[in-house]
Homo-oligomer: 303 residues x 2
Amino acid sequence: MRTAAIVGTGRIGTSVGAALRARGVVTYLLDVDPDAVRVAQGQGAGTTQPPPGPVDIAVLAVPPAQVAHALAAQQGRGLARCYTDTASVKVRPQRQVAAGGCDLTTLVGGHPLVRADHDGPTVASPGLFDGRPWVLTPTGLTSGAALNTCLELVSLCGAVPVLADPAAHDGAMALVSHAPRLVAALLAARLRDVDNATLRLVGQGVRDMTRAAEGSPALWSDVLTANAHPVAEVLEALAADMTSAAGDLRRRAAIAPATPGDGDAGSEPPGDALVRLLERGVEGRGRLPRAAFEPDSGGIGHA
Amino acid sequence: MRTAAIVGTGRIGTSVGAALRARGVVTYLLDVDPDAVRVAQGQGAGTTQPPPGPVDIAVLAVPPAQVAHALAAQQGRGLARCYTDTASVKVRPQRQVAAGGCDLTTLVGGHPLVRADHDGPTVASPGLFDGRPWVLTPTGLTSGAALNTCLELVSLCGAVPVLADPAAHDGAMALVSHAPRLVAALLAARLRDVDNATLRLVGQGVRDMTRAAEGSPALWSDVLTANAHPVAEVLEALAADMTSAAGDLRRRAAIAPATPGDGDAGSEPPGDALVRLLERGVEGRGRLPRAAFEPDSGGIGHA
């Protein structure tokens, strides 16, 4: 790979450009916002000059809802020999691309999962993809040449390629990222109107659980809508789990003795649903691969 | 205050003992487990010798379900001139104490909220309460002398006293700690059976949101049951929010155009429920007091 075009010079696009430049690739920066392109150039992501001819690959680093538009426009002008995108949702953009009559042989859907220990959600960095998974979702129509160019792109960015089915990718992202993001927002939203005395009791647990609610509502609304049905499925399942746990708690409170000395200080009854649920939580948490930058502390600070 | 007894030498009790010792108070350690008492003595929390007479205050650092038992037993032998507990739930233990015929004039319910930046959830430390809120829940029956001794205890431990109604305390804890803890367990439990390919896509967001699921199921089951109805209320409200958000997502997906070029790349329609929800999340998150040890990064690593 000798040349690349970056379409959309936000955090992801600028970081891809900077990573490719560091490996000797000539990168051309395009964005509807001329200021954004100049900033990206200033960060060493490439040049604002137009490419003299078709580049080896164009990276469409635009929101999910704009992938099909961007692809149709750039294929129409012959920007590149192959194309990939960086959207965190894959099924819906692919359906839109197909409906829009684009050339599907030169397209490989892509989703780089970036490092979380870099400087905040808006700062570009060539190391943003270091050692992280970068999902590629080729279809039966994708050419071998396009797929190999994308594999090279991933490699040059220091990431680990993961081939996946678009629907499997979207279902997985709904479970491990999109639905949890919405849960964080719902939890945080309930703290909006509490009194200051209650806020003083906030501990590390709810801090951790609402951190994800800080992201941009406009960006996240776009992502969640693009992956609506898988996210809705996870939310509905979680809502059912919560209702069931609430019912279990109310039953336990009704059974537990109101006066001391009747055995409530002893161990839980065997087969207790609440204890089993908490144990399943410990097991699920235990399956998460530990990030290099994961803090070492366990549990939350107080009960 | 010259003398204190610590009943229950777990993390909290041992830390209280060590904090009081550092301020010159003579502390006597009691626990049903003789090994636990010796470990606490080794950590500088006090002496395993029995007190020669009634101490100024006894701190009942036992789980919520054991507070009434411990109080009845220690009042029966005349251990102290006043008593406090450290349970994270206040209404239910207080009801059990009243039903158990204890002397309520010498009791002040208490709940220290510990620092989360100390060495894990099991390590005792005299600095565990430094600058943190320590809730006290006196009733109309509590004597002024007992309350003042408890205020001195909180002060000697370096904490900030917060006077509160027991029910208000329990409702606040359900919202900012207990229900979120159960949500973390439910989220984590859904990760228990996913395939390894999905686990590779896990980012910082879901890591943060499931960290609280690492706590002890036995301890948390006890806490959650003791505060069952307030926690169930929060869970039921969150479940309703989730079901509503899921329905909104499905409606958005049905309305959004399946082909590009029909305006789906533009901004969201005004009054959009999903965007408003995400904005309420940002606002709620913004109300959290920032801990001194809170990481500076915002948002989660990837969409």
